[in-house]
């Protein structure tokens, strides 16, 4: 182990402090006895209990989860299809334009995306609710999925599909039994990306949500404007815990996969 110089120690401390002190404060105050967020009055878990009683928050959490699952599934199907066409069909008229248009929403300000979707829903007379949020999220996260999947498709050996067809598969069967299993890690990470994007989206959701459906980010944002309550701290702490568990699990799983692959390669020699 190398010893860190004092400069590195200072940089590291400040960097991590900058990143994590706000979150640490949030977590600590979620266990505060007092109703006042800035005054410490002893340890308690009562805000967690109250959170569990709060119908509005639970409803919003349920809506958010529903929206995230449905919209990321739609985005994954559409994004994979788009990636497939753009990588596979070679040169066709307008290909550059199409691939540019797939990526454009990545850099488009969310306000614009949200507003244009809102105008569309009004124009076609669609009542705003869970359905409109799902469509909106599906639309913008599809681009992320197609970026992830098309980068995997670009390195996919097409002769694998030809081999499948050579051995008796129809085009769809070849896709289902060879291509999809091989690119599945990319498809899954595309889905997860779309899922997280949908979970924490505030801007587009607030444009497309209606009175009948509110997502958690909208709920948190609007209740914070009326004053921060320790309940929100508790809710945020739960979310942080869930995210941390997810990230740690994923990194352990991928580390194990790498170890297994190294061992397999040793067997081959």
């Amino acid at each position: 182990m190398r010893k860190l110089s004092w400069f590195n120690v200072v940089s590291l401390t400040f960097g991590f402090a900058f990143l994590y002190i706000p979150m640490v404060i949030l977590v600590v105050y979620s266990f505060n006895e007092s109703k006042l967020v800035t005054v410490w009055a002893g340890f308690s878990t009562k805000w967690y209990g109250e959170l569990m009683q709060n119908e509005a928050f639970l409803d919003a959490a349920w809506v958010t989860l529903k929206v995230a699952v449905i919209s990321s599934t739609i985005a994954t199907v559409l994004g994979t299809m788009a990636a497939f066409v753009l990588v596979r069909s070679g040169r066709f008229f307008g290909r550059t334009l199409f691939s540019g248009m797939i990526y454009a929403p990545l850099v488009m300000p969310e306000v614009i995306t949200g507003l244009s979707l809102l105008l569309l829903f009004i124009a076609i007379g669609m009542d705003r609710g869970v359905m409109t949020i799902v469509l909106a999220h599906g639309t913008f996260s599809m681009c992320y999925v197609s970026v992830v999947v098309s980068s995997r498709m670009a390195t996919f050996d097409e002769s694998l599909e030809e081999a499948a067809m050579d051995l008796g598969c129809t085009g769809w069967d070849a896709f289902k039994s060879v291509t999809l299993p091989i690119i599945s890690p990319a498809v899954i990470s595309g889905w997860l990306l779309a899922f997280t994007l949908s979970l924490d989206d505030l801007v587009i959701a607030s444009f497309t949500a209606g009175p009948s459906a509110t997502t958690l980010p909208i709920k948190i944002f609007s209740s914070v404007r009326l004053g921060v309550s320790p309940e929100i701290n508790a809710l945020s702490t739960i979310i942080i815990a869930l995210v941390a568990i997810g990230v740690i699990t994923a990194s352990i799983a991928s580390k194990r996969a790498i170890v297994r692959q190294r061992r397999d390669e040793q067997v081959a020699r």
């Binding site: 002769s159 030809e162 067809m165 050579d166 051995l167 390669e265």
Partner: protein
């Protein structure tokens, strides 16, 4: 299989398995395959040989159904293949990259095609084991492709392509990824398996040694055209053009004018005041036109004194000697400036060190050792 007896291409009554009739393939304005007629017979081991970009892979992929035909027709076993997709053809292909399915075990890779055929489920297991035995990989049935060495992957790919007992097996540079020693061993294994299964093999390769070793017939291709289709020994001994002579093995080319043609024999005048070279007359040569004399280095004898009773002899100076262990190649510069290679086998352990650099020597060959080709 006895090669001397196996020659269906010489039997006019034999029914070809594959027939190309005027097959042309265009990519835009580029012609990849130019009006090819070719017959390949059952149980043949047929090699498509040529430099990269000559169209050999395209020709094979047409048989597999991966490329469409622009003009002309391909029939396999009497059936026109136009519009028939790869999964409906009794043809299997072994891919250059092997294309093993990485998410499936060796056994599942072999069973992949069988599960999609009309073979009953109960027989699939037995067939997979049979194929594993054929390529000697019984112990590796449960492994995934990335747990195999290059040679093992190659054998799995071969077994998978043979599992459905196709009428025709296509091999796209099957040994390209193997090192030289393994490649030579595998060549004989391939021939062995081809004999055992009785399948017709069409192999694409740019390695002329490989084609010569495995094939019953070779088609030499250049620029989308078939230059010569013949047995390996005919291709080597009686090439029909300078291109083929130059592509297959080592050759000396002496250019000149055809001064006489009489039946099988011909003469080529190549240098003022020197007697004409006598050789076998190649196809399509005419008296008075330009021609080239092609002779293999091992057919040229080298000596210090002028040999008697030999018509073809020329004098030159040894410019370089390459000692290759089993043989030595002498590079001899003639008076007119051309460089001729002569090869002698080092059959005795201590080679006669009779010849050395700057020695004046005589090169000689018999009247039938070389061939005179049109240019």
């Amino acid at each position: 299989m006895n090669n001397a007896q196996f020659a269906p291409w010489e039997d006019p009554a034999a029914k070809p398995l594959i027939e190309f009739k005027g097959v042309t393939k265009n990519y835009g304005t580029f012609t990849a395959i130019d009006n090819i007629d070719l017959k390949i017979y059952p149980r043949e081991f047929f090699a498509l040989l040529g430099p990269s970009g000559c169209g050999k892979t395209t020709l094979m992929r047409m048989l597999g159904g991966f490329e469409t035909v622009t003009k002309g027709s391909i029939t396999i076993d009497g059936e026109d293949m136009a519009g028939i997709p790869p999964n409906k053809r009794a043809v299997n292909m072994m891919f250059q990259s092997y294309a093993l399915f990485p998410h499936l075990s060796v056994a599942d890779n072999l069973a992949f095609g069988l599960k999609r055929s009309d073979m009953p489920k109960s027989e699939i297991q037995g067939r997979v084991e049979e194929m594993l035995r054929l390529v000697k990989l019984q112990k590796f049935a449960g492994r995934k492709p990335h747990q195999l060495s290059g040679g093992q992957k190659q054998r799995v790919a071969l077994a998978r392509a043979l599992a459905k007992a196709p009428k025709l097996l296509l091999l796209d540079e099957p040994l390209g990824a193997l090192d030289k020693k393994l490649r030579q061993e595998t060549q004989f294994e391939l021939m062995d398996i081809q004999e055992k299964t009785g399948t017709t093999f069409v192999i694409v390769t740019h390695d002329q040694e490989e084609a010569m070793t495995v094939a019953s017939r070779i088609a030499v291709m250049d620029d989308g055209k078939l230059v010569q289709v013949d047995t390996p020994d005919r291709i080597y001994e009686a090439p029909n053009s300078v291109y083929v002579a130059d592509f297959i093995g080592d050759v000396n080319i002496i250019e000149g004018g055809v001064s006489n043609v009489s039946g099988e024999a011909a003469e080529l005048s190549w240098s003022e005041g020197k007697p004409a070279i006598k050789g076998v007359s190649g196809e399509r040569i005419q008296k008075g036109s330009s021609g080239a004399f092609a002779i293999r280095p091992e057919k040229i004898a080298i000596s210090r004194d002028k040999p008697v009773d030999v018509h073809n002899c020329v004098q030159g100076v040894v410019e370089d000697i390459a000692y290759l262990g089993n043989m030595s190649t002498y590079y001899v510069r003639l008076d007119n400036g051309s460089l001729i290679k002569a090869q002698t086998a080092n059959s005795r352990r201590i080679a006669r060190r009779g010849l050395t650099w700057e020695d004046s020597v005589w090169l000689s060959w018999t009247d039938t050792a070389g061939i005179i080709l049109p240019t």
